[in-house]
């Protein structure tokens, strides 16, 4: 599995130019008072997206039928993709958070509290995105996976819309629910979100393993 991980790191390194360019643009945007929390989230999302890029590299030109003759199990492959996604996104998140922190120390014009809260929420959202998207990518592959993900997103939006309509019937508005969430102690809120992410990852991982173990190459 170590070899697989190194393969993905090398693929990432080979595509680093593109990422560095984005990082530089984001760095510049920080100096024109762009929301740093959003920038950290954006760069973290880009890093996470690279996990899916490695999967499309693996799949390209029947790559899987060679890859799965190498000395690891299909479960190892799934494990590596989850590990890679989490590690790379958290690392990038920390690096950019430290960069913002450094800027705040130098320029003394940033309030790190809300920035940290926004960035943390983005990190959780990106992990949830990964947990939902990975089984879809494993099931449908890179090309069809994109369409399937759009489908899943549409269903999720429809579900939220439907819930808000049902809520209205019982005299509860979505705005009120969001306002109520705002009143929750942030530490509890982050704790709850982190738990949701962990549960989502556990479910997502077991689905992905089942998908890959059944897959034919």
């Amino acid at each position: 599995m170590k070899g697989l991980f190194i393969k993905d790191l090398i693929l990432l390194k080979n595509q680093a130019k593109f990422y560095i360019l984005f990082a530089m643009i984001c760095g510049l945007m920080m100096f024109v008072n762009f929301n740093p929390g959003y920038l950290i989230g954006y760069m973290t999302l880009l890093a996470m997206m690279f996990t899916f890029t490695t999967m499309s590299y693996d799949e390209f030109e029947n790559g899987y039928s060679f890859l799965f003759t190498l000395p690891f199990t299909r479960k190892d492959y799934v494990k590596e993709k989850y590990g890679f996604g989490i590690l790379i996104s958290v690392t990038v998140w920390i690096v950019f958070l430290l960069a913002v922190l450094l800027k705040s120390v130098i320029t003394k014009d940033l309030d790190m509290g809300p920035i940290f809260a926004t960035a943390l929420m983005y990190l959780f959202m990106i992990q949830l995105f990964c947990a939902v998207n990975l089984p879809i990518q494993f099931k449908f592959g890179a090309e069809k996976g994109r369409i399937a993900f759009i489908g899943v997103t549409a269903v999720a939006f429809a579900a939220v819309f439907g819930l808000s309509k049902i809520g209205k019937l019982f005299g509860m508005s979505m705005i009120e629910v969001i306002d109520r969430i705002d009143t929750i102690n942030p530490i509890y809120l982050f704790g709850i979100t982190a738990c949701i992410c962990i549960v989502a990852y556990v479910i997502s991982y077991s689905i992905s393993v089942k998908i890959m173990e059944k897959k034919q190459f």
Binding site: G3, L11, N14, N62, G63, S65, F66, F68, P71, Q216
Partner: protein
């Protein structure tokens, strides 16, 4: 026994595979058949890339499902249409393979790549067909695997490149306790390389023979209609109607050479045997 397929069955829409095959220690075993005969399905079944509908597959005397990652280190694979990502370089592969295989021979790998004039820092996707094929084989051989499973390793190569690759394969067998299962649509390659060959057609093994036996004992007899009528048919396996009479396949070439010295007898090459076995009429 390195690899054993026992009544392995796989059914697709309009196609079914049902075959048994053995790869013995120290043997190079060839798999020959027309396009779509089932060669790749056999390879994929043996490697666990597809599930089978029946039968058993054993590698190193272990059931395929019980094969561990360590066992897989003892298997080197070449697929004609698949390999490492084209966005990697040979320098990248050196690092990856070192971390994938405990027995990865870095010096040997780099040496072979240098001998094959393969550039270390060029992305694989920019390699020529010959360079890619060479690299796939060098990778498969780089970790001292006990079994090499080579699906059309010479596909798309010119004569010189093919010879070079066949030499690599031969040299790999110099160390004992190794076996190779290889398929090629160029059967001449297999005649000089393999210890035994399996002929496959429409998902069934139609012939399994030691290569020497096939080349020595099998022959093609060309007869007119009259000659055919007078011919002793006891060792004729297949016949095929031609404009001049019959083309017959025998596995007792000497019998007919001695008994009918005037008849035209051609050497049984794998191609000829395969053609007659498929297109010929069974007696």
């Amino acid at each position: 026994m390195m690899l054993k397929l026992e009544n392995v069955q796989k059914r697709y829409d309009g196609y079914s595979l049902d075959c048994s095959l053995e790869l013995r220690t120290g043997y190079i075993t060839g798999l020959v058949g027309l396009n779509g005969a089932g060669k790749t399905t056999i390879f994929k079944s043996a490697l666990g890339l597809i599930s089978v509908d029946g039968g058993g597959i054993q590698i190193f005397n272990k059931e395929l499902k019980d094969l561990t990652a360590e066992d897989r280190e003892e298997i080197g694979v070449v697929h004609y249409d698949s390999g490492f990502s084209g966005y990697l370089t040979i320098s990248n592969l050196t690092v990856i393979l070192k971390n994938l295989y405990k027995k990865f021979d870095k010096e040997g790998f780099e040496q072979k790549c240098k001998e094959g004039n393969l550039p270390f820092n060029k992305m694989i996707k920019n390699f020529s067909t010959g360079m890619k094929a060479k690299l796939k084989l060098i990778v498969a051989m780089s970790h001292h695997a006990k079994i090499l499973i080579l699906d059309e390793p010479t596909a798309g190569l010119d004569v010189i490149a093919r010879d070079e690759l066949l030499d690599y394969i031969r040299s790999y067998m110099q160390e004992g306790d190794r076996s190779i299962l290889i398929s090629s649509h160029i059967s001449k390659d297999l005649e000089t390389l393999c210890d035994d060959v399996y002929l496959i057609d429409q998902g069934r093994i139609i012939l399994h023979e030691e290569t020497d036996v096939l080349l020595d004992r099998y022959g093609l007899l060309k007869t007119t209609n009259e000659q055919y009528k007078e011919l002793d048919h006891q060792h004729i396996i297949r016949r095929y109607k031609e404009a001049y009479g019959y083309r017959c396949l025998t596995d007792h070439k000497d019998f007919y050479v001695h008994k009918y010295p005037d008849l035209v007898m051609e050497k049984g090459t794998i191609d000829e045997v395969l053609t007659l076995m498929i297109r010929g009429e069974r007696l």
